[in-house]
Subunit: 424 residues, 4 copies
């Protein structure tokens, strides 16, 4: 149970920290102004991407790569602390070509793409020359149970025809988005096994019939890269656009989830650390009723609990990452549910405290707190609602309990009649 990053990974932390501080953060104001004006800040991002790649801070997330694929080949436990650093600025991951959903898509393509698919989609993604999205959730069903999905992928001769409506498709509004990986049902036969009905289709964003109908404001955030509602109406692509085999969509999507949730969790922890730092600094500066806020015990309690909760959450994530690296993604499934659950709930809790220390200023866009807090509420649905993860963790615990049934019976001290006394 060794959570320490490898020396190579450790050696990347300080350069990344400095890159964030010296290059990313000073561009933050520009980025925000572009985004507020509704324009994707390519002029901010692209030069930084070039600098990051030159500095060896590129594709930090993929443990395994082919020789011709650029990247650092770090283990999940190695990448985690780097993701935490990136998480401090909402748009920073893109600079290092580490942003969702491309990370998961690259992983999928890396593992399952044909050579031609790899050439067409994976290499440009790894080079940062295009972006992509992943279309799974649908507005009309509880998508946390994928067996509900209504989107259809039907083979017609040498082609697949796609029909369906997706939403919360992140990244679809990015000006460089070229590819949607779409999950749909390709076999709705009543006797088809529930988890072997789905396929994944590689759909060019410019294919006829693909229509981004709106960029959904999420918690009033109009994300510049988009959380989009997309209609796929009679989209026809040649059969070589299928990723993997028919019916393998669900299994492939599962494989994609573990690492992505670690990234997400660590970025979230990065947000929490930032909020704690801002809260502490504000508490030292601001006065009320003749004292610094940092002298009030309620404020001290908020600071202390934030520190403790963040530390606990980080250890939990590092433990899950370590387990994935040692035993494989599947072995850590429950742990991954746990980190998803914990970090999402942690975020609004810590942010809420920080806002309270900032007073009314915390409500304004003059600090990142209001924006992060309300975004944090969405985290409790991203990658599955809390309830799905609680259910998974409980079921795992009940399985364990069944396997050990009766072992604790001696702890249940049944009352016994007086003749069972000491002198008996």
């Amino acid at each position: 149970m060794d959570f320490a990053p490898s020396p190579r990974a450790l050696a990347l932390q300080e350069p990344l920290r400095r890159f964030m501080q010296d290059l990313v953060l000073p561009s933050h104001g520009d980025w925000l102004r572009w985004a507020d004006a509704g324009a994707y800040p390519l002029d901010v991002i692209e030069p930084l991407k070039a600098q990051a790649r030159a500095a060896g801070l590129w594709n930090l997330f993929l443990p395994e790569l082919r020789a011709d694929e650029p990247g650092t080949r770090l283990a999940n436990g190695d990448y985690a602390p780097l993701a935490e650093l990136m998480g401090r600025v909402p748009w920073a991951s893109e600079v290092f070509n580490c942003s969702a959903p491309d990370t998961g898509n690259m992983e999928l393509l890396h593992r399952f793409a044909t050579p031609a698919q790899r050439q067409r989609w994976l290499l440009p993604l790894l080079e940062g020359r295009m972006r992509s999205c992943f279309a799974m959730s649908e507005p009309d069903v509880a998508s946390s149970d994928p067996t509900n999905l209504g989107t259809r992928i039907v083979r017609e001769g040498d082609a697949y025809v796609l029909n369906g409506r997706k939403w919360f498709t992140t990244g679809a509004a990015h000006p460089h988005c070229r590819l949607a990986i779409v999950m749909g049902v390709s076999n709705a036969a009543p006797d088809a096994p529930a988890h072997q009905r789905h396929s994944l289709l590689l759909v060019p964003m410019d294919a006829p019939g693909v229509q981004v109908v709106r960029n959904i404001p999420v918690m009033a955030h109009q994300a510049i890269e988009g959380h989009c509602e997309i209609v796929f109406q009679g989209v026809r692509v040649s059969a070589d656009h299928l990723l993997g085999g028919e019916g393998e969509g669900f299994a492939m999507a599962q494989a994609r989830l573990g690492p992505g949730r670690v990234h997400h969790a660590m970025r979230t922890i990065g947000q929490c650390e930032l909020a704690l730092e801002l809260m502490a600094e504000r508490a030292l500066e601001r006065m009320a009723f003749g004292k610094h806020l940092s002298d009030f015990t309620n404020v001290q309690d908020w600071i202390a609990w934030s520190r403790v909760e963040i530390d606990q959450a980080r250890l939990l994530v590092l433990h899950a990452a370590w387990r994935m690296d040692v035993e494989g993604n599947a072995a850590a499934r429950t742990e991954v549910s746990a980190i998803k659950l914990v970090t999402a709930q942690l975020q609004t809790r810590v942010l809420d405290r920080a806002m309270q220390v900032f007073g009314a200023a915390g409500l304004t866009p003059d600090t990142p707190l209001a924006s992060l807090w309300s975004w944090g509420r969405a985290l409790r649905f991203m990658d599955g609602p809390d309830e799905v993860h609680l259910r998974a963790i409980a079921r795992q615990e009940l399985v364990r309990s069944r396997a050990h049934r009766g072992e604790n019976v001696l702890h249940l001290r049944r009352w016994m009649p007086p003749e069972g006394g000491i002198d008996g």
Copy 2:
């Protein structure tokens, strides 16, 4: 950051687990009946102690020992998982000669005793031939701030004279308790530095003037080993009963705290694990409104949160133990405050859920839950109230904040007039 126990420690886990299951647990009913009748269950304990020592499960807690001192010499991180196992039965630690407050007292004596003191007190303790107590808290002052203590240790010729009233002195009612280590003020001069006023005195329990005035029920638990109120009235001992030097009492007591809190925290986690196991098993068995309790989502939520919170707390404790082992007890002081705080609050939370699953049965002594839960409330004061630890953690965070003041200024996005726009 490698939390894994050493191979040697790992090799002790299964034997200890089996010892608990095969020997300790089957004696639990007897132990309880003796204790309920107000008699210390020596007939239960002493044979088990002999067996434990024979099995090499003896003095598992002290990292360093002299050649003639029996024990396993495990690091804190090695001992922690063993303490968790012991924590499942409230009285089990004594079987392995690992029970508080003797552990801390042995550590103190190991580090600071003169050869004669060592011979008289330490070796019998290490052999399990006697027990001891540590008298610090006082009823009349907020003892979390030791500068308040009223007990006086005064040099008179070749002797020390001790006067004061202590309470919550654990273990003083044990029939084998021979020694009280008493903290008192030996230098009340107004200009004496606050933390150099205290001394530690080794007081035989049978010294004239030592009176155990009551065994305080704590949360209605009449502990058989006692949480006692003791009056020391004109107790006179020869000068060689002083431990260390005059004025060093506070510093020595501090040194004693770290490992003890790790032990305590891990035993507490052991209680939580037990409660979770009982809760899951009960949920699988009991029916209400036509379903098993384990099928209700609220019960599932309790189980899942308990799992996640326990796992987080355990990692935090292991991390603190690891840090103590690598960097020393002092370096981990804030971490130790954090684990004290977290595990104490965790306990009542998990126990509360388990009780709710057990229904009215959870209120009775037919399960260990009611007893553990109300004892858990006391944990929030043992080794310092929550507030003292929150304060310590917050202060540490504020120190860090002061050192980094200004680094986050670019995150505070001050509003700018329109001319600062995109095209500007």
Copy 3:
């Protein structure tokens, strides 16, 4: 919605308050010493009862009485503030002949007893010459669903024969307890309607076959009046011991519940007020780190939240009592579930805060806090676990929702295409 007590009830508040302060409270120490020694404090109680009756503070809880039945005939809303005052001392209700479970039993007998039953049981109860218990919960089933009960009441010729095991039968250990009202199944025919299977039997405690097998410690409280486990083994009583008709047991028991829960809730609020008062006073006295505890904002927060939560809970109870008085017990069923739920959870919350302010002293029997807090945990099961009441409240809300389905559809702002814009 007028919650003010009637002038007559208002006029009783000050005399009761004074009686509590001048007569009950000074006897509290005696009462506790007797109880701790395991003897029912009749010498304390009986003289006080005589004084209370002489002062007109007797049977304050029954809204309606016959001419020959002693009591004040106060409405529920009138009695509620008086119950709050009584709740400040755990045993005080008995002094005013207002203690559970006799209150509910008297109400049952008042409404359903035959003249002979009334003579034999009700009048002695109203006179305070005997006490009684109510046996419903059973150890082997989730008794919150009474259809599960296993106790059988079988007609044999001119007699009923009773067999079953009950527990948590409060008051059965009182030296004056003469009567158990026992709920059992008298018609287990598979086609009998679920809520018409039960009957209530009036069982003299000295009937052959009645065995109090233990007085169950509840949360380690060994209640002197008993929360008992009772075996009824072949208990045979003549047919005139049936209360009401066969199959009416469930309905009668329901009728009994409403007022009793109001009494209970208000007594609980009395405990909370006491805890808040003690907490505030302690905070003003005790110093830590150079300041009074009352100057720390975290302590202030505990005090303020306790005030606010108590006030809210009291209003909720008064509202439920008012509704019972105006619309009848049945109309207020959901409100009664709500007050049961709210006050039980409030108690441990407020008590917990008070204990924290008292420091280690709060763990001892030197204050009532430890005892009240752990008792408070039991409140979450007494009169039904939280979950049963949450379920009842939710179902009521869902019924309401079904009745109004669709009324809020215009609040759901479906996204509309751009052509639906302002100028459109």
Copy 4:
């Protein structure tokens, strides 16, 4: 303690409910489209205002009015349930000329304006022909302590000159806003009593030197009526623009607060009721894992707790309103702090649960939940942060405690030596 509305007020509830349902709600989509486009929806509002006034639903909030002032003259307790109904649609209050901050401003002018001021400002406000704002909070100080304010009102000959920067000035961006009531320091003499330094100035929005520098997005809400930052730079108005006397500003502003907080609290409760209704309806409709959400006990718990908490909060507000009506605004000051605190925290709690039941849809603008929830966070600062109100409530409780010091001493059961036993 009679909370029931007067018959006259009761008679207004159904017409108002119907007005909301039949006229306001159907216009909601239009209102939102205008507002999203950045235009104040006058075309929606103004016709509704005319209809409301014609229906006698106009100025429902002012208990006392002169003969020539239009309105219903309802008590606070009478108006409260009407405010709850209005609260269901964020912009509805304006339709009935009951929207903040005009309500408070009208109350101020009603009580303190000269006849000329009344003519110029009050009557147009009462007629709904103009709107107004109230400028108190400042960006550079913790404005919860008004003694900190930096804005200066200086007498120069026959005029007052105003300098300062205010923010969170609600309503300043409304196209009909004509008046700002500005609080500033008019007497900064070091020996001036802290609460007699402030004055209120009536400042026409078109006076030279008044500049609305930005409409601050609050929790990402770009309110169409504005929460504005305003610079007052050398604004000069004739001396008859002073409201009341010099130095009376603080006292007048205090007087303004009580009723406004009741309105606010009840509107907030209206939002909570709406959220609960939507949550229940969604739970009845939506399926997951083969069941309706309403069949899951965790969802049931959310519904039940929301019902109970809303009911408690409403009773608390009605009680405060009743007390204001009977004993005057000043007597209810602590109660008003309590309702401010409770309802603001209730809102995010209930809304959070509702969002969770809606799944990802709850994050979108397709329901009002996301918008209400994030707005709810701001409620914890509007009219003072939680901490200021907690402090006020605690201080009041401590005052009460001091007055009753010692009364509970007999509850503190000091341990006594054995000779104090039963037979003693």
